[in-house]
Structure formats: C-alpha cells, structure tokens
Amino acid sequence: MQAFLAILRYDSSQLLRSWVTRLWLPLLVMPALFLVVVAANEEELASETLAAYVAAVLMPLSALAVAVLTAGAIAGEAQIIADGILSRSVTRTEFVSAKIVARLGFALIVFTLVMVPFTYLVVRYAAADVSYGGLIVALFTAALLLTFLGALGLTLSTVMTNVLVSVLVLLVTVLASGLVLQFLGLRWMSTTAVLTELAPTIRGETPAWDLFRVVFVFAGLTAVSIMTTFSVFRARDL
C-alpha cells in the first residue's frame, strides 16, 4: 500500500507538471466561457449548448490529451520504471494500479473541474430545457467514454514500446471503430453515436434501455481493458 501511494503521488505530480496539462485546461476553459456568454445573450437551449461543447470541444481535446497521457504512461517510461521503481520493493500490481488510478483519476478530475462549473453556468443563464436526471446520465456517459479511452491507452502502453505509435493506434482505433460498428449494425456502440445522442439525453428524452446498454458496454470494455493491462504488464519483461 505504501508503494502504491508513493507511486500515485509521484505520478500525479508528474501529470501536474506535464505540458499536456498546461495546454489541456486552458483550451477547455476558454471556449466554455465563450459559450456561456453566447448562450446567455442568445438564449440558446442549455441542452444543445452543453451537448455541442462536449461533442465539439471537450471530447476531441480530451481524447487527444488522455491518449497522450495514458498511451505513454508505461511505454514512455519503461527504463525509468525498471531502474527507478520496479527494481525496488514494488509489485507489478501495485505499480499498474497506481498508474491507472493516477492517469484515469487525473482525466476525471479535469473533466469534473471543467464540466461542473460550465454546466452550472449554462443551466443558469441559457434557456432551461434540461432534465436533471438526464443531465447527470449524459455527464456520466461522457466521463465513461473518457475513462474507456484512457483504459485503452494504458493497455496499449503496456503492449507497445513506442509512445507515438501507441497514441496514433489509440486515436485511429477510436475513429475507425465508428465505421466498423456502423457496418456491423452496432452504430449505437460508437462514440460518435453516443455524442450525437447527448442533447436528447440531457433533456431526458432518451429511453432508459438505450442509456443502460451504452453504459453497460463502455463500462464492460473499460473493465476488460484494465484487466488486460494488468495481465500483460505482469507477464512483461522489463
């Protein structure tokens, strides 16, 4: 447990110092403020404003940031990990757990820091059309998508040795999955479909079953990714 906490602290401090973080937060905050002003002045619908922000700003930027932060979590630090960390009294399980908690936790903290005040301001100043239940589910789904992306990035970082290739593979996989799923008649499982459905979800118009199956599938995929990360990293030579 001490090793887990030590690595968690170390990794979190590395993330805070990262150039990705320095770019990510301002790039999310500035358009959010702009949208709040526009929505208040133009009396835009809160659900449409929130959904547009999530689909056009938050998800693309966050996907890129999360991809870089997670796909390089292990691949980019293999030597440091072996020399400085895992040659000491740390188990692989402790190490991977700390990495997962730090990286995914960091992504979710950034998401919360941006989305909670932004949602509050939009709901307060734009034309109110939101259902609070729908709003919570929509935000939860968006957070789940980011978590899944992060988990997949961590899996790739244990499998691959090149950070850039890991990031590219992750982004291409996410983008290409939409086409494949559409071809297979499973469009509802694609990230694009989930994002286009956000506005009705915020208004509370999406059937509960549709929401459940999306949450179930992405939670399941996240769990599978995390288990794969553990199993691959435990067996890997450093």
Partner: protein, 368 residues
C-alpha cells in the same frame, strides 16, 4: 545459506538471441562476488532476472532461499540495485528521488531524510542535491543510483557496472565505498568488465561468457590461477643462447614462449610450482650469462587469466557440447549438474563454487 542460487537459468529473447545459457551461479552470504564478462555476456540479464524484472525462459532462480518473481516485493525490499547507466526521472531532484525511494520502501519520513542526507554526502552529491537530474552527468547519476540502492541498508547489494562513467576520483571513491559496505553480513554482487575493480574489492569471482558461467571461485584462487605458469623476463647479452635453451626448462612440449624484443614471456604448462619454474629460469639466466633487467611473475595477472579463461572456453565449446550430448544420451547428469567430477570448473555449465572445483580449471590442466 546461498543468497543467490540459480539452476540452469536460461533466457532466450524472442526465440532469436540466447542471453543466458543454463547458468548455474551460487553466491553465499557475506561474499563480495564479481561477475566479470565482456559486453553482452549476460551480466545485466542475470541481474534483471534476479530482481524479477524479467522472467527466465527456463531454469530457476532463488534469492534468500525463495523463488524470485515479479510480485516478490518482499524479497526486493532486502535488495539494493544499481543499474548500469541508470535512468531516473529527469525532473526530480536527488532529494525528491531518494525520498520517493524511501517512501516506496515504506521508510518513515524522518528516517528517510536522515538516511538520504547521509548517503548524498557519502556519494558526494550534497551540492547537487536540489538540482533537477536533467543536467546530471552519467557519473552523477551512477553515484545517485548507488545512494538509492543503499536507502534500505540492503542485505544484498547488486551493482551493475558501478564505476562506469566515473572519473578516476569518483571511481576510487566508489571502490572505497564498496569496501566499506562489504562485511557485516552484507552480500555484494558486482558486474563489471573492469578487472582491476574486481581485484580490489571482490572476495569471489565468476566469469561469464555467452550466457554461461565458465569459472567461479575465490579471488585468491583466481590470482593463483593467473600467476601459475607465466614468467616474463627482460634480458640483455647473449639472448639467442637463452632462447635456444628455454624449451629445456621443462619436459618437451610443456614450455611455450613468445619474444618481444629483449622480453621473453615464458608459459609453463606443467604441474610444478611457480617457485620451481622461477628457480629454473634464474638458473638458465645464470648459465647462459645474460644480464637480467627485469623479471615479472604477475603483471596484468587477472586480465591474463580472464582472457585465458574466455579463450579456453571458446576452443572447447565443441567438446563441451559433445560431452553434454553424450551425458544426455547416457541418461546421466549433464555437465551442468553438480558433482560432475573431472569435468569440474572448466565445464562451461558447471559452477565451481568455492575452491573445490577451481583447480580443475587451471589453464594448463585441461579437463575436457
């Protein structure tokens, strides 16, 4: 008790490269064991498996009497490790890094601070203690690595090329530090290709070549091995008379020599003692009336012995493979098994731990 015990340890990377080839190595408590070998011999791979960073393809490894693996943090807690050319987080300062190591090891914060201050002073990094590591030289990183390896006052200290990248002063300081650390029931394993380092600090030595331990024994035996048989003399006067009679110094075929100007390097392959051979050489000098300028029975001795071992191992590779196959066909223990008798120390796969088999591997006493 063996602190480290490997049995037929084998590591093959991607079915393409054999890094370790049935390595049998035993290190006992309190030893300062020098693992010597050329680059790519398998020293670092041995250490990585020993720490659970890599899995062996075949064979087994025990540390403190227990099987080592990736999840054995309890065993690693008792080990300090310095990797070769260590890579540490560049944005961290030595103080922050050692604090991190202390917290990973579960040390109380106060104790960790006392320990890190002491260690930074010991490795002469006090002045750089608050600077980020990105500007550090290889030598500074190595010294910091030594400090990190000592944070938990380990029972087993593994140093992979501890003097690599150090200037002469740093090297001397590191050797002194290792000397200080030896004893007190601490076991130290040092991998290096700098033989003088091994000679200065190690109580025992193992020679690794192409993933196999081709010699293992006390340092004193290695020195004896090195001294055995070679006498260098520098003479002037009637050197051709001296040269003509060199081969009469021992039985036919038991004396080899090479001449470099006025210097003769005479190698005796017989079983007599060095003192006896020395006496014969001095008598020959007297008899032929040459003037002795210099005589040496041990210059570059360890290096010489080391190179002879490697050469010996290379030339006997085929015979060893044949012996191994024959042993397998006959359903008896192969050369890798303990107690393989006459095959003893020169048999590539056999570990001649302590002196018992070491004599079997003396150059000039072919055992295969």
């Amino acid at each position: 008790m063996h602190v480290v015990n490997t049995h037929d340890l084998t590591k093959i990377y991607d079915n393409r490269y054999i890094a370790l080839n049935a390595l049998n190595m035993r290190v006992e408590k309190g030893q300062v064991y020098g693992l010597v070998g050329p680059n790519g011999a398998g020293k670092s791979t041995t250490f990585r498996i020993l720490l659970g960073l890599q899995k062996p393809t075949a064979g087994s490894i025990q540390v403190f009497g227990e099987a080592m693996g990736a999840e054995r943090a309890d065993l690693r807690r008792r080990i300090g490790y310095l990797p070769t050319n260590p890579t540490f987080p560049k944005s961290m300062t030595p103080i922050a890094f050692l604090q991190f190591v202390g917290s990973v090891l579960g040390m109380p914060r106060d104790r960790a601070k006392i320990q890190l201050s002491r260690l930074l002073q010991a490795v002469d990094l006090t002045n750089a203690a608050s600077q980020p590591m990105k500007g550090f030289s290889t030598g500074m990183l190595t010294r910091l690595g030594i400090a990190a390896a000592l944070m938990n006052d380990p029972e087993l200290l593994i140093l992979d090329e501890p003097t690599s990248g150090l200037d002469p002063a740093g090297r001397k300081q590191t050797i002194e530090l290792i000397r200080e650390l030896s004893g007190r029931d601490r076991t130290i394993i040092i991998a290096t290709h700098i033989l003088t380092d091994v000679e200065r600090v190690c109580t025992d030595v193992g020679i690794i070549s192409a993933g196999r331990l081709i010699y293992s024994g006390p340092m004193a035996d290695m020195r004896r091995l090195a001294r055995q048989g070679t006498i260098a003399v520098e003479i002037e006067g009637n050197t051709s008379a001296f040269e003509q009679e060199i081969t009469t110094l021992d039985e036919f075929g038991s004396v080899r020599y090479e001449r470099l100007g006025s210097e003769f390097r005479i190698t005796f392959l017989g079983t007599r003692s060095l003192t006896d051979y020395l006496q014969r050489v001095l008598q020959l000098i007297d008899r032929t009336g040459v003037e002795l300028l210099h005589i040496d029975t041990g210059s570059d001795e360890i290096e010489e012995a080391f190179l002879r071992r490697l050469e010996d191992d290379r030339t006997r590779g085929f015979l060893r493979a044949a012996a191994w196959a024959a042993a397998l066909d006959g359903g008896v223990d192969g050369p890798g098994s303990s107690g393989s008798g006459a095959n003893g120390g020169t048999n590539g796969n056999t570990t001649a731990r302590t002196g018992e088999n070491a004599d079997a591997g003396i150059p000039g006493h072919p055992s295969v």
